[in-house]
């Protein structure tokens, strides 16, 4: 199995761990290195008498190391993976030693285990159902109050004029945001927060951006007020946006949801921190079905992000999508094997015109939609003064998403400088955020 440094970097908990891992990336640092189809392992001398034992599950990426580090994965896990980048022939063993076999077998058994639900008596069931209904009613009332309060708050803003927004204290937004949390509508709280996160310091761009946020949120508030008139899928979408969470456990247990089996290319990843919570989005593309999926993970400074898939990897898996008006968020139900090479190219769009049409079709279904995944032929970058645009084969220009890190844009620029490439990314608020490119049938993830 091949890894790239960029993939391994995405797994590292921080830059220091990556650097420390690089220090262990020479095979000479390791006492033993072994690998077979399902696991990579190694022993490395540490400060103790016994060498540390490091192991990596290659099918469902997971790490284990006997070192005392609290970081996850630790530098040994990263270092061991990096050994393979520089020297794929470094592993000299294929037979798993007992300490490796024990761990990997346990993981295999765990993933096949069927969750046995507790059985309840009718009385217990009715009690549980009543409790659930009561909580649902209480929440509905709280959310209704929150929706009414936020409607009023927006109307007050418009009445007094948005021009005062830059002078508002952060607490002005935080207070309303906290009221929405109290009203059990965390989704609405994030819309309020996004108003406080606008860049009020430079230029007047914030004016239209603020109005857009207010309009979209107001539309959501209106939609919630009329939720009974919406179709079931739309009701789910609206409730998600308001803040009802969707449980992956429930989804896995729900057999009614269609399962999409495909070879999935992990297109890229994005991490953002919001109120100390790290939100990680991973985008995948089904190479045969052309389905686009987004896996959402959450972590904090103190609880590491669960590792599910590695960006740039290609895996055969069964994906199940959360219900909603437009398919987007998904989880992996079953993962079978990983591939080294892209077996086939995905469906390609001719130009950005087609990409924009796709995005608009999604918005027409779901007005709060974002991040339309696209794979476009012949894209390169154009530098015009200090602005960088992506340009297609028919000279359509699209601005680069300001969220993209400068070095990623520059790296993309370098790769495309000697010819246009099939480029993968998503459209967000009318801008293009690149995730990777295809180069001679290899996917290079940014």
């Amino acid at each position: 199995m091949k890894f790239s440094e960029s993939q391994i970097r995405s797994l590292a908990p921080d830059e220091a761990s990556m650097k420390a891992g690089k220090g262990l990336s020479s095979k000479n640092s390791w006492v033993t290195i072994g690998q077979n189809d399902r696991v990579l392992w190694g022993e490395i001398k540490g400060s103790g008498a016994k060498p540390y034992q490091t192991q990596i599950d290659l099918l469902n990426i997971a790490f284990k190391c006997s070192c005392p580090s609290r970081k996850f994965p630790c530098k040994h896990g990263i270092g061991l993976m990096l050994v393979l980048v520089s020297d794929p022939n470094a592993p000299t063993q294929t037979d798993e030693p007992s300490w490796v076999a024990e761990w990997i077998n346990k993981r295999a058994v765990k993933s096949e285990q069927v969750i046995v639900e507790k059985t309840y008596t009718e009385e217990e069931l009715s009690k549980l159902e009543k409790g659930k209904e009561k909580r649902a009613e209480e929440r509905a009332v709280a959310v209704e109050d929150g929706v009414a309060e936020l409607t009023l708050w927006f109307k007050d803003l418009i009445k007094s004029g948005l021009i005062h927004l830059p002078n508002k204290d952060l607490s002005y937004f935080n207070k309303t945001s906290a009221r929405m949390i109290d009203a059990k509508a965390p989704g609405l709280a994030s819309w309020v927060k996004s108003l406080s996160n606008l860049n009020y310091a430079s230029g007047n761009d914030w004016q239209l951006e603020a109005l857009q946020i207010i309009c979209k949120t107001f539309l959501l508030l209106d939609a919630y007020k009329n939720i009974g008139q919406q179709i079931e899928e739309m009701q789910v979408t609206i409730k998600n946006l308001i803040g009802w969470s969707q449980s992956p456990k429930d989804l896995l247990a729900d057999d009614s949801q269609p399962i999409i089996k495909d070879i999935w290319l992990v297109l890229g990843q994005e991490e953002k921190t919001n109120d100390d919570i790290i939100v990680q989005k991973t985008w995948l593309l089904g190479l045969h079905t052309n389905e686009k999926a987004m896996i959402l993970n959450f972590g904090t400074k103190f609880s590491p992000m669960p590792i599910s898939v590695m960006k740039g990897s290609i895996l055969e898996a069964e994906m199940v999508f959360f219900p909603g008006e437009t398919r987007q968020r998904a989880i992996i139900k079953l993962q079978n094997q990983m591939f080294d090479n892209v077996p086939k190219l995905p469906e390609l769009l001719e130009d950005f015109e087609q990409a924009i049409d796709l995005d608009r079709a999604n918005i027409a279904k779901n007005p709060w939609w974002n991040d339309t995944i696209i794979v476009v032929k012949n894209v390169r970058l154009l530098k015009n003064q200090n602005q960088v645009y992506a340009i297609d084969s028919v000279n359509n220009l699209i601005t680069i998403c300001p969220d993209m890190l400068q070095n990623i844009v520059l790296n993309w620029f370098v790769i495309c400088a000697n010819g246009a490439k099939i480029t993968v990314g998503f459209i967000r608020n009318g801008n293009f955020h690149a995730l990777g490119i295809f180069k001679e049938n290899n996917y290079i993830v940014f």
Binding site: S160, L211, C215, N396, Q406
Partner: protein, 527 residues
């Protein structure tokens, strides 16, 4: 559409309390649904109108079109470096900060030397590294990032290379004085023709710097040039600049160090005339020995006088330390001493080297009273003589003298050969915690095989056998300069290790960094 959006936006900014929106400008496609969903609440109506407009605008707007000239592909004229060589950069960038720049310099020199460029995916890494590095490395990086790298530099204003980097002959033609001197040092043969061609138009300060360079390891042509300058341009003139006299001093020094040169011969003959025979030792005339001694005149004469020394040797005529040199003759003799090697003095005085050194440092006629202590006023002259003749006997002798400052020892260390350095290091209490090896290495570069083996086995002896901890300073020196064949010796020593703390320390401080460094250096070397 934009005009209508602006109207709505302006009302939203000012506030519906102060300004009523003019909905009459809305198109029927927007106005009709708006009227259906809005009641009399002006704020709600404005938000809904804005929402409709924004969604309409987004759905209907067209992408911008590029109308400029066709975008050309950027083709590199140089080929990219090979994968194994390129991979060394990753290893280099995680090295200890004290080693990183050195190894990066080696890596860049090799790639520049082969007229290649870095791999595409390394361009940004190199640029970002350049931002953190010195100007010298930045200039090298600039030569390895190709055309693509140069284009993206406009996004990295912190990567400043100052004035554009000049290479080859450009350095001589357009460069600053520092760059031109760099060119001479790098291209001695080509540069010498250019020096002669442009000599008359050069400034006096630049001429002095050039002479300082070419008077080291001069070839026959350069010596002829020096002679010509000494005889003509810088011959003594009643009215001359201080720099002209200083240049004469440099020229004379060079000429005097050439055996059989008339100036050398003249000085030796003059010195001979001041040498006398003296009787020493024995009681009542028994066992007397006859030695030769140098007797300074009591007052200036036709040789020892400031005008003569100025005209011949470019010696500053004003005694600048009257406390140390109590008279003109002492001052002039201290200035003469560095012109004659101690080997020559030993022959003139018919004494062993060490006796000659003792003589100059202890003989009454060379002593002067400074702060209540009698010291030889020739201390500095002997120290300076080392740089002119690099005589190992004198250098090792001076190392043992208490008057020598630590900085003076550091300056003299590079003049020793590796055997002498090792001989002296072994006499030191803790040779591996000092920077002496570093000072020697700075001038002498890569260590020879035997020196490398000795330092390696001594480090092993010091840490593992004598159970002493040491700093990483010596391993950094080894990493940079150890002979590449020393890897075998390194492995031999590793195999001798036992399981104990000091073995682990040696493994950590010496073995691991050295193994990694040798690996990188070998690949760079063989590329």
């Amino acid at each position: 559409m934009e005009k209508i959006i602006n109207e709505i936006l302006n009302t939203a900014l000012i506030g519906t309390d102060k300004k009523a929106a003019d909905y009459s400008i809305l198109d029927a496609d927007i106005l009709n649904p708006l009227e259906q969903i809005s009641h009399n609440d002006p704020e709600e109506k404005l938000i809904r109108a804005a929402a409709l407009l924004i969604y309409f605008h987004e759905a209907g707007s067209k992408l911008k079109k590029y109308k400029g000239p066709a975008i050309e592909n950027i083709q590199e004229s140089s080929e990219q470096c090979g994968p194994i060589f390129a991979h060394q950069l990753e290893k280099i960038l995680i090295l200890d900060i004290n080693l990183k720049d050195f190894f990066l310099g080696l890596w860049l020199d090799k790639i520049i030397g082969k007229n290649q460029i870095a791999r595409e995916d390394q361009i940004l890494t190199l640029i970002d590294e350049g931002i953190k590095s010195n100007q010298f490395l930045r200039n090298k990086i600039l030569q390895t990032i190709g055309e693509k790298g140069k284009i993206i530099l406009s996004f990295k204003p912190a990567f400043s290379v100052g004035t554009p980097y000049k290479s080859g002959i450009q350095k001589w033609i357009e460069g600053s004085n520092a760059e031109r001197l760099e060119f001479i040092a790098e291209n001695r043969l080509i540069a010498f023709d250019l020096i002669k061609k442009d000599w008359n138009s050069e400034s006096i300060v630049f001429k002095k710097s050039v002479i300082e360079i070419i008077s080291k390891d001069s070839n026959a042509d350069e010596i002829l040039f020096i002679q010509e300058l000494y005889d003509n341009e810088f011959v003594f003139k009643a009215k001359e600049k201080k720099t002209e006299r200083e240049i004469r001093n440099l020229l004379a020094l060079k000429l005097v160090t050439i055996p059989n040169h008339p100036l050398h011969q003249l000085l030796v003959d003059k010195i001979k005339s001041y040498c006398v025979e003296e009787k020493k030792g024995g009681f009542f005339g028994l066992g007397n020995t006859i030695t030769r001694a140098f007797k300074l005149p009591e007052k200036p004469d036709e040789f020892f006088n400031k005008d003569h020394f100025n005209a011949r040797l470019g010696v500053e005529p004003v005694n600048n330390d009257s406390a140390l040199y109590i008279n003109e003759v002492n001052y002039l003799f201290a200035n003469l001493l560095p012109f004659i090697s101690t080997a020559e003095w030993a022959s003139l005085l018919n004494q062993k080297h060490s006796d000659v050194f003792d003589y100059f440092l202890k003989d009454k006629q060379f002593l002067t009273l400074i702060e209540g202590k009698k010291i030889s006023y020739l201390q500095q002259a002997l120290y300076e003589s080392c740089f002119n003749f690099a005589e190992r006997e004198l250098i090792l002798y001076l190392f043992d003298q208490s008057f020598m400052a630590h900085s003076q020892i550091q300056d003299l260390i590079p003049l020793l050969n590796s055997d002498d350095l090792l001989f002296w290091l072994k006499s030191q209490k803790n040779p591996f915690s000092s920077n002496y090896v570093m000072f020697w290495t700075q001038k002498n570069g890569i260590w020879d095989k035997s020196f490398s083996h000795t330092i390696l086995s001594d480090s092993y002896e010091h840490i593992v056998k004598n159970n002493k901890y040491t700093s990483e300073s010596i391993s950094r020196q080894m990493a940079k300069f150890v002979h590449l064949d020393a890897e075998t010796e390194l492995e031999k020593l590793k195999n001798k290790l036992t399981q104990d703390t000091y073995s682990d320390h040696w493994l950590k401080i010496v073995y691991k960094p050295l193994k990694e460094a040798i690996g990188i250096r070998k690949i760079i070397d063989q590329y």
